[in-house]
Point group: C2
């Protein structure tokens, strides 16, 4: 018998238990595929007494994940605890320092400390794999790093937070407001302990930082991402965007521009009949564009025990099969540090204004746009309710700078009530 790949699994929440279950249930199949047995040697979690619905009695127990990482009878340290600092980071560093490869689902850890950890791993001849950190069960890290390795990647986009997409599509389909759906998600357990990670776009931005690093050969730069959550999306915007043939999605986009690396995670409009526009509920989708392959779209469950464990197993099987590539697809020391280009490439925008019922109001709006150099593709004014009337505008392609001039103009004029809404229309 070929030598077993010996695993230590830290973190026995939903995903950790899912991984243990698969390794127990599919032992024979996994050995057939990888050519060697996968052997769980030891596990680690806080509460040894808790019933997790799977038999753990055959494994050594470590209360301290760092102690697990240090054991000399494991080959791979599987980190499924989460958290960008604290025990997860300490344990991963210890694992690398003591000669183990690492498989992790921890997007926050890698988005923030990925560069340092990748350098540590590569200096030590070790490997970090993190398929489960991005878009759950979708093998997108593999597709981007390996399958599309022949491409110069031109753009990566994704809907990578299922909770946000669930809220936005339910607003659309049920006509429920954001606050009601937020409460529903809280009760269903769809939200992180800090819900701002979800609805504020941070969780999805962690994932985008990792995709962008691979796609563009750059150091992961979470801080360079322009992040905007979905808290301010109104039912009016959802319905009116739909009327004009769009859906609103919390969309992550990374691409190169002349000024550097553009990374945005923000609500955008996408055409209703595009794959991104058609994506409903908690499903994730990643779109990868390359100079040779044109466009690849990957869709699948972004969370959950089975899908996330599937991604972890993909990484474990790769290691068992001897695949050893750098964390971000090229040596960490060769990753470039590109400036964050906060102003994205020109795009059309969706604008919504509340127009006061005054003579010449619409003319003033049109003049402000014209003076800013923003030209109008389509405009709709609806009937007045009380003293204001909603006005929707889809602009032609414009720069964010020109748009900001127009928005300042709207704020300064006496015909617009409240803050204008401006959402980018991403061309897909």
């Amino acid at each position: 018998m070929t030598q077993a790949l010996r695993l230590g699994i830290a973190g026995l929440g939903t995903v950790g238990v899912g991984v243990v279950k698969i390794i127990r249930r599919q032992a024979e199949l996994l050995e057939l595929r990888t050519g060697r047995p996968l052997q769980i040697v030891a596990v680690s979690a806080r509460d040894q007494g808790k019933d997790r619905g799977v038999n753990l009695s055959g494994y050594e127990w470590e209360t301290d994940p760092v102690a697990l990482a240090r054991r000399d009878d494991i080959d791979v340290f599987v980190e499924l605890m989460g958290g960008e600092n604290g025990p997860a980071k300490a344990a991963v560093e210890t694992a690398l320092a003591t000669g183990k490869d690492v498989v992790t689902a921890n997007k926050a850890l890698l988005a923030i400390h990925g560069q340092a950890l990748a350098e540590q791993a590569e200096a030590a001849g070790r490997v970090i794999r993190f398929e489960a950190a991005v878009a759950g069960g979708i093998p997108v890290i593999k597709a981007l790093t390996e399958g599309l390795a022949g491409n110069e990647i031109t753009r990566v986009m994704g809907v990578m937070n299922g909770t946000c997409n669930y809220i936005l599509t339910r607003m659309q389909s049920e006509g429920l407001g954001y606050n009601a759906l937020f409460e529903e998600c809280a009760q269903l357990g769809y939200l992180e302990a800090d819900p701002n990670l979800d609805v504020g776009g941070i969780d999805a931005a962690h994932k985008l930082a990792l995709l962008a690093a691979i796609a563009f050969g750059t150091k992961p730069n979470f801080k360079g991402i322009e992040i905007e959550g979905i808290e301010h999306i109104s039912l009016d915007d959802i319905h009116q965007a739909a009327d004009m043939g769009y859906r609103i999605k919390l969309l992550g986009v990374a691409q190169r521009s002349a000024r550097g690396l553009v990374q945005r995670m923000q609500p955008c409009l996408v055409p209703s009949d595009s794959p991104l526009g058609q994506l409903e509920g908690g499903t994730n989708m990643v779109v990868i564009e390359g100079d040779a392959v044109e466009q690849i779209v990957l869709r699948g469950p972004g969370a959950g025990e089975g899908p996330t464990a599937s991604a972890v197993l993909g990484d474990i099987c790769d290691l068992a099969r001897g695949l050893r590539i750098p964390t971000f697809g090229q040596p960490a020391t060769t990753l470039k540090k590109l400036p964050a280009a906060r102003v994205g490439l020109p795009a059309p925008y969706y604008l919504r204004l509340s127009l006061l019922d005054k003579p010449g109001a619409l003319a003033k709006i049109a003049a402000i746009l014209g003076d800013a150099g923003v030209s109008i593709d389509r405009m709709r004014q609806y009937g007045h309710t009380e003293s204001t009337a909603p006005v929707l505008i889809v602009t032609h392609k414009t720069t964010r700078a020109a748009l900001d001039v127009a928005l300042d103009g709207f704020r300064a004029t006496d015909v617009v009530a409240g803050e204008p809404v401006a959402l980018r229309i991403e061309q897909v």
Copy 2:
């Protein structure tokens, strides 16, 4: 400098030229990603004098691909000639016999001879990679073999012939008949030299045979596939299926049943609002379902210079990076030979009959279905044109055997004109 990976490329058609272009254009990027230079040593094609739009003067030229495969100064033989027998097969066998790994885009070769070639490769310690053979630029072989290696695959489905999907979606959108679109495709060069490979479903069935082998750990069994082309799909069926909320696709499906391995490549109905139903034009889509991951959908260009070359490069980069796994994801000698279960799992069916204008005609139809044990979900009768009236029926889930009894009943009765149409509704 690390040792170069030395390539011999046989076949300089669209794909071969695309591969040469990428290796020339992206030399630096590819070396960064794989850790070693990719070096084209020699190429082979019939006509050395032809201008292929790329500078080939730096490469050795072999007129005979078998001679190229035999050279002792290449590590990888890249077979892009096509054809299930003849020079492609001889050259691949020679390459393996003389110690080279093989990258190929040749679905016919592998669907027919894949088992023998995989056994030959593995006995010799060599590797065959074939990402470009299935669904063009979509890295689906990688997703299935590696990314989803932790899953017991339950079903694989795909729209994998762009020409067929182009014809079917244009029938739907433009109201053009099959024959007119077939002629258009012939003029646009969308058809293989033998168009039956496309519209007869054979090309797509080759791809399905390869996916099924990986998914279920079985020997590729092209002959076990139930194949039906799109030649008999009428505009009536397209429009009437659409009225009932479906699209007609040439869909390949592979899954296990109690009787063995079900492999079908045939026109099916899928819900209009499913990812498969929404797939338009020449794009390909593969749906993979596994016990852990639930459902993954991959979408992208199924043909063309760039996308197919992208897939070939993915394989070459894998070899440069040292990834060495068995052709079908587990040792070829461990692949099982499952019986072909020609009768698929129960499903609902779409039926279209031309009913003669006789009293009690519809009652007879209903009685025939009832006697066969097939129950009706929905039925529509349209007005009579001349002496017949179209009747559409969507059945509840039924076995093919029960359906065949009903179809024989329709043929025997005196109220049905012509041959009844029966299309499976695939639940996705």
